[in-house]
């Protein structure tokens, strides 16, 4: 996901200045010129949705911060283009698609003109049809035509193949168009059939990278006939992952040329800024034929939408503490649940999904108990209220999607797992439990509401995190701002070089050959670099040299495009049946003995964890609490690649300069808390004895010089300012390095960088010890999230003072008053505790800039 761009200083100021709650909010509404008296609304008829919306707006648990209404948009239709095969036309009209939307028509026209197309229209605007129709048309014209459809996940590929088969299934028998999935789950016989007979093949970047390209001769028929390359959910290909995908696509394009094909690209993206630029960065070869036609004017009909931003009420006027946002989300979602409105509640964490599912089921069952027996009421609640998140088994996920489509499930609490284009039909309402972190993600989720022109409702329930409270203070941030950009950098040597090895294994690279988007000179540079370092071997020859891979190893097997994959944990019931999967890194957090692991709100207690066997045995329990593991992060920089830049002055507490090296990061999970359901009060603590997780990666560090430390005399202020600076540095580095902010991490430690320090970062803190330590002489660390490093932090360091100038410019030059999520400031409790002020952050940044100069 796009990283939260948090801050909060302004929100904080606003909060402290206006802790009188209600009145201020209404004034804010009035100032922004919105209809501040929400109901009664003459325009809208009384429907369950409007009634529920009114009830939410007046709900005693919340203050209405903002109401945004978008009016209905009627769809613009155009006729199908001339020359569409009559059999295809019949199939389309048979499905009620007698006329395409104007944007669909435009996509088809651009494609017919030979252009590459990127569509960035809203959810459910019929983007899939824009690749299905041209593919079918091409196959009906030429039986040898093929299409590759790349989806970011297997589930999505499966879903889209089913959808496309509905169209192709309506074609006459003699015009059959084969559609197949080819991924890691496809059995061997079906794989052969897919390669040999399917016209449109759905796969994912991972399979393309490891399963298709290295064995390209088996795909020769497909590659030689390739007419279209479809990249769905383009916006997911960003950051390091996107950079890898960009190189996989380079290799694909090289092989297409080898087999004599020049496929057109059809890319579909959620709303992001600059979809054309992203598509071009991923498919650089399209530049020489004029780049992408960007189609972002949505012509599909949309119903009127109300978007309510609500803030949980303050419960304690003195401290300004607000109601727990999960509990408030429970109350708000229950309003929609009672109204029988189909609702999707997006939560930020898996734990929140489980809590909300449980609470909503409890409420539903309680309300219906009066009418019948408790067991039946609970069963009915379990059908109507569902949870959905990563970690559930595929069968369960398919089943929930079907229940949503067919209407048995009325309310589903979900993580972003439902954000991508899975076909779940339209919802009436979407509740966001907490600000998703970016505007792009917010709109992507909100787009799930609204079926074909019907009115829809979106409710954002803000949490008390600074970022959320910033949104509360400036809701126009959400509606007026442009969406975030997705960035990739396929030329990052750490990514490019391994893929170049893969390319050389696929076909020896000739001297003088240019990789798409790289040019002859840069390709040669990279090739010779690899040859000099033993990654490739250069063979001379009468017709020029060739770069080859020796030793018969499979380079693609050594390149993990989604980061390293550790075997995940299976959650087993006492009979050995698998209930769920948990990612390796999350295992210690969720599956330590004694943990309560909920599945769709039903609690299971972990009896035993077999670490090496990656298995946790659980049993269903009636628990009145859930567990939250506490984790600590320690980091040190070892094997300093670049010595600290200047000798420390010989005084205690002095700085150790700046440099780069290998970071050794250790995450410890020492214990867990027991939290009571409903009240969320802490009712106990238990120890955890599990192995630490270690990460070895590359890092850069900058120590605060003594003079600056002296200026910021309060240790807490120093720590907070260093953390704010680290956060800003990470985000600006991501911007400059064209990576995702999540590809980098930041931390603040104290003392010599080679000594263990307790790290403060977005998820780890606050901690008294950490505060004292970091308050000593803070060192700011940036390190890569990929084990072994991806050259990002080091690259940021190499930019030197210029890097800090950019960070300083961003932090000081933002048009906001005292700092905002865009320019600086962490979103965590840590910041709340330490306090962040822009002047202190700037002091730290300027001091660090001077360290780099020295």
């Amino acid at each position: 996901m796009l990283e939260p761009n948090p801050s909060f200083s302004r929100a904080r100021t606003l909060l402290s200045g206006a802790s009188n709650g209600n009145g201020r909010d209404h004034q804010a509404l009035a100032r922004t010129g919105e209809a501040h008296v929400f109901a009664p609304h003459e325009r809208s008829p009384l429907t369950p949705l409007t009634v529920a919306a009114d009830e939410i707006a007046r709900h005693p648990a919340v203050d209405l911060v903002h109401l945004h209404e978008s009016s209905a948009r009627s769809g613009a239709f155009e006729p199908w283009p001339e020359g569409l095969d009559p059999r295809l036309l019949a199939a389309l009209t048979g499905h009620g698609l007698s006329k395409p939307y104007a944007h669909q028509r435009r996509a088809l026209d651009e494609l017919a003109d030979g252009r590459d197309v990127v569509l960035a229209t809203s959810t459910a605007s019929g983007k899939s049809l824009c690749f299905q129709v041209p593919i079918v048309q091409a196959v009906l014209r030429d039986r040898g035509a093929r299409a590759l459809m790349i989806f970011p996940t297997k589930a999505l590929a499966r879903d889209q193949v089913e959808s496309m088969r509905q169209l192709t299934g309506a074609l006459p028998r003699d015009a059959a168009v084969g559609v197949a999935v080819y991924d890691g789950d496809t059995p061997p016989a079906e794989r052969r059939a897919a390669r040999g007979r399917a016209h449109a093949i759905a796969t994912n970047p991972d399979m393309l990278h490891r399963g298709v390209l290295p064995h390209h001769e088996a795909w020769g028929r497909v590659l030689a006939g390739l007419r279209y390359l479809v990249l769905d959910e383009l916006h997911t290909y960003r950051g390091l992952f996107g950079s890898h995908v960009g190189n996989v696509l380079r290799r694909l394009w090289r092989l297409c040329r080898h087999y004599g094909a020049r496929p057109q690209v059809i890319a579909c993206s959620a709303t992001i800024a600059g979809p054309g630029a992203l598509a071009e960065a991923l498919c650089p070869w399209t530049r020489e034929r004029g780049g992408f036609s960007v189609i972002d004017r949505d012509a599909s009909p949309a119903g009127p939408r109300r978007f309510l931003v609500v803030n949980p009420r303050v419960v304690d006027e003195i401290t300004g503490v607000r109601r727990d946002y999960i509990k408030v989300t429970r109350a708000i979602t229950s309003v929609l649940r009672r109204s029988g409105v189909a609702t999707l509640a997006f939560c930020r964490t898996r734990r929140a999904v489980e809590l909300l599912t449980r609470y909503l089921r409890d409420d539903e069952a309680r309300e219906h108990r009066g009418q019948g027996d408790g067991v039946a009421a609970r069963a009915a609640a379990s059908t109507a209220i569902r949870g959905y998140r990563g970690g559930y088994l595929p069968d369960r996920r398919r089943e929930i999607e079907r229940a949503l489509r067919e209407g048995q499930a009325r309310v589903v609490a979900s993580t972003n797992a439902l954000e991508l284009g899975m076909d779940i039909g339209g919802m009436d309402a979407v509740v966001l439990a907490g600000y998703p972190g970016t505007r792009a993600a917010s709109w992507q989720r909100v787009g799930r509401a609204g079926r074909r022109g019907d009115p829809s409702l979106a409710v954002l329930v803000l949490s008390s995190s600074p970022l959320d409270q910033f949104v509360a203070a400036s809701p126009e941030f959400l509606f007026d701002g442009t969406v975030e950009q997705a960035r990739v950098d396929p030329d990052n040597p750490e990514v490019l070089l391994p893929h170049l090895r893969c390319a050389a294994q696929e076909l020896p690279v000739r001297e003088g050959e240019a990789l798409p988007g790289l040019g002859v000179d840069d390709t040669a540079l990279a090739l010779h670099y690899l040859a000099d370092h033993g990654g490739l071997h250069r063979e001379p020859g009468p017709d020029g040299g060739r770069f080859v891979v020796l030793g018969g190893d499979a380079p693609a097997e050594q390149v993990q495009i989604r980061g390293p994959l550790e075997e995940n944990f299976s959650v087993l019931d006492p009979d050995g049946e698998v209930l769920a999967q948990v990612d390796f890194e999350d295992g210690p957090l969720y599956l330590h003995p004694g943990a309560i692991y909920p599945i769709e709100g039903r609690p299971y207690e972990v009896r035993a964890l077999d670490w090496d066997g990656r298995k946790a045995t659980v049993r269903p329990v009636r628990a009145s609490y859930y567990t939250v593991a506490v984790s600590k992060l320690r980091v040190r920089v070892v094997d300093l690649g670049q010595e600290p830049s200047d000798a420390p002055e010989d005084s205690p507490g002095s700085s150790y300069g700046a440099g780069t090296g290998c970071a050794h990061v250790v995450r410890t999970v020492p214990g867990f808390k027991k939290i009571r359901f409903g009240t969320h009060e802490n009712i106990g603590f238990g120890p955890i004895a599990l192995p630490d997780l270690e990460l070895h990666t590359t890092a850069a560090f900058w120590g605060l010089p003594p003079k600056a430390a002296a200026q910021l005399s309060c240790p807490a202020q120093r720590a907070g300012a260093a953390l704010g600076a680290a956060h800003a540095m990470r985000h600006v580095a991501a911007l400059l390095l064209m990576c995702d902010a999540g590809d980098l991490r930041h931390a603040v430690t104290a003392g010599h960088p080679a000594a263990w320090g307790i790290a403060l970062d977005g998820t780890h803190g606050p901690d008294a010890l950490a505060q004292i330590e970091a308050g000593g002489v803070p060192h700011v660390l940036l390190f890569d999230r990929t084990p072994g490093g991806a050259g990002l932090a080091v690259h940021a360091y190499e930019m030197g003072a210029a890097f800090f100038e950019r960070v300083i410019a961003v932090v000081s030059g933002c048009s906001c008053g005292d700092g905002c999520p865009t320019c600086m400031g962490p979103s965590t409790d840590a910041a709340e505790q330490y306090g962040v002020d822009r002047a202190a952050v700037l002091t730290v940044l300027r001091a660090l800039r001077d360290v780099t100069r020295g």
């Binding site: 290295p214 040597p493 001379p540 891979v549 018969g552 693609a556």
Partner: protein
């Protein structure tokens, strides 16, 4: 930032690019002369069509030797003593032998040049992306009594395309409807791998297969004939057991992969000597394929023992030569015909009897088939297959439901539905004869 700067930073921050790490290889690039280190092709009559150095410019070496079929002629020294005791088939003999081994087009093979014996040495298994063709060998008759062996060996990885193009240029005009491929396991390895590599290098279009020709893969026939009759069915084992061919200093399959990579990675004299061993192995392979084909043909017509006789008959039967199969089975049926005592009879005879009966049945010789089934029933009372077949015959052909019922009921696995039907057909008051009596009557109708 420019890529050059970024690479400089990359170099400063990391010491290695891959797991391999920097190796000395980049300092010792392949010099043009060093790939000519293949073994000299002296001896009686071998000649290299293109000089080794000329070949190495292209990154591969193409060598040709010719061998006389009879062992009285000295073999080229390059082959060593391995083939000293082996006769190779003449062209017409090979054409005839291949006819015995596989179903071939009616037009038959060209008796002057019936086949190309073909074998690949590769750096891995099929389906492994890194497995390329290191050595390719092909052998065919240039005269009725002379076989030419052409061999290509790779000098550098990047030259595989050029080498395969050269190989293809030789193969394509040669193989065809009247000139088959002969391989050992080529149906699942050598030929598909060759095709895949040709497609991979863009020499063939993915949809084309210009090398379409009859293919005699000796492995399935060898398995049919000799399964479980030796330690395994590998070519080397079969050569030892059936060809009196003993390879000196031969290389094993896994070793080939290792030696080829050693040569391609670092072609020093030691690696060249190892490559020479791989090449000799490959030459012997293609020649021994011809010898093995002929020997198998010989044994299919003149089996050395009863087991081989039965298996040869099966082979002929499978290839649609029922009469030959029947003729081969004759000697085995004696044990059944001589009225061997009830309950005796070797498994071999039983199997032979059933196979012969099946052939008779298909040929319409119903009574003879029935006699054989009855004899099997007599030798092994209750034998399910024989009882069922005989019961069917009695029911549908001979129309004797009572006898059929007796036979069907005596099977160790009687079919309930058949019994019910036969009871109905036989009628309520029918007398069911004892099964031994029925079986004896049908086993020896004259007696």
């Amino acid at each position: 930032m420019r890529l050059s700067q970024r690479l400089a930073h990359h170099g400063a921050s990391r010491s290695t690019v891959t797991a391999q790490g920097p190796d000395a290889r980049s300092q010792s690039p392949l010099s043009p002369g060093s790939s000519s280190g293949s073994s000299p092709t002296s001896g009686s009559g071998p000649r290299t069509e293109r000089s080794a150095t000329a070949g190495s410019d292209r990154g591969f070496v193409h060598e040709v030797i010719e061998v006389a079929v009879g062992r009285e002629h000295p073999r080229p020294a390059i082959l060593g003593e391995d083939l000293a005791e082996v006769d190779l088939p003449t062209a017409p003999a090979l054409a005839g032998a291949l006819r015995s081994l596989a179903r071939l087009p009616a037009a038959g093979l060209d008796p002057r040049c019936p086949a190309v014996m073909f074998d690949l040495e590769t750096t891995g298994l099929i389906g492994q992306p890194g497995s390329l063709i290191g050595v390719a060998g092909a052998a065919w008759h240039v005269a009725p009594d002379r076989i030419r062996v052409e061999q290509w060996s790779l000098g550098r990885v990047g030259a595989e395309a050029a080498m395969l193009a050269d190989l293809d240029a030789m193969l394509r005009p040669r193989v065809g409807p009247r000139c088959a491929f002969v391989t050992f396991n080529g149906a699942s390895f050598d030929l598909p791998l060759l095709h895949r590599r040709l497609v991979r290098h863009g020499i063939y279009r993915p949809t084309d297969d210009p090398l379409r020709a009859p293919h005699v893969d000796l492995l399935p026939s060898a398995r049919r004939l000799w399964r479980d009759r030796g330690p395994d069915c590998r070519l080397g084992t079969l050569e030892q057991h059936h060809l009196r061919l003993r390879r000196e200093g031969d290389v094993g399959g896994a070793e080939v992969v290792e030696l080829l990579w050693r040569w391609l990675e670092d072609p020093d004299p030691a690696a060249a000597a190892d490559l020479a061993r791989v090449k000799r192995h490959n030459r012997i392979d293609v020649l021994s394929l011809a010898a093995l084909a002929f020997t198998m043909h010989d044994r299919l017509w003149r089996p050395v023992d009863a087991v081989e006789r039965l298996r040869a008959a099966r082979h002929h039967d499978r290839l649609g030569r029922a009469s030959q199969a029947h003729a081969l089975l004759k000697p085995l049926l004696g044990a059944l015909a001589r009225g061997a005592a009830r309950g005796r009879g070797s498994d071999l005879a039983i199997e032979a009897g059933l196979l012969a009966a099946e052939i008779d049945r298909r040929a319409g010789r119903r009574d003879e088939a029935a006699r054989l089934w009855a004899r099997v029933c007599r030798a092994v009372p209750g034998h399910p297959q024989a009882h069922e077949a005989l019961a069917k015959h009695l029911e549908h052909r001979a129309r004797r439901p009572a006898e059929a019922l007796a036979v069907a009921a005596a099977s160790v696995t009687p079919c309930a539905r058949r019994l019910i039907r036969l009871r109905t057909k036989a009628g309520d008051g029918a007398v069911i004869p004892p099964v031994a009596q029925v079986v004896d009557a049908w086993a020896d109708p004259s007696g």
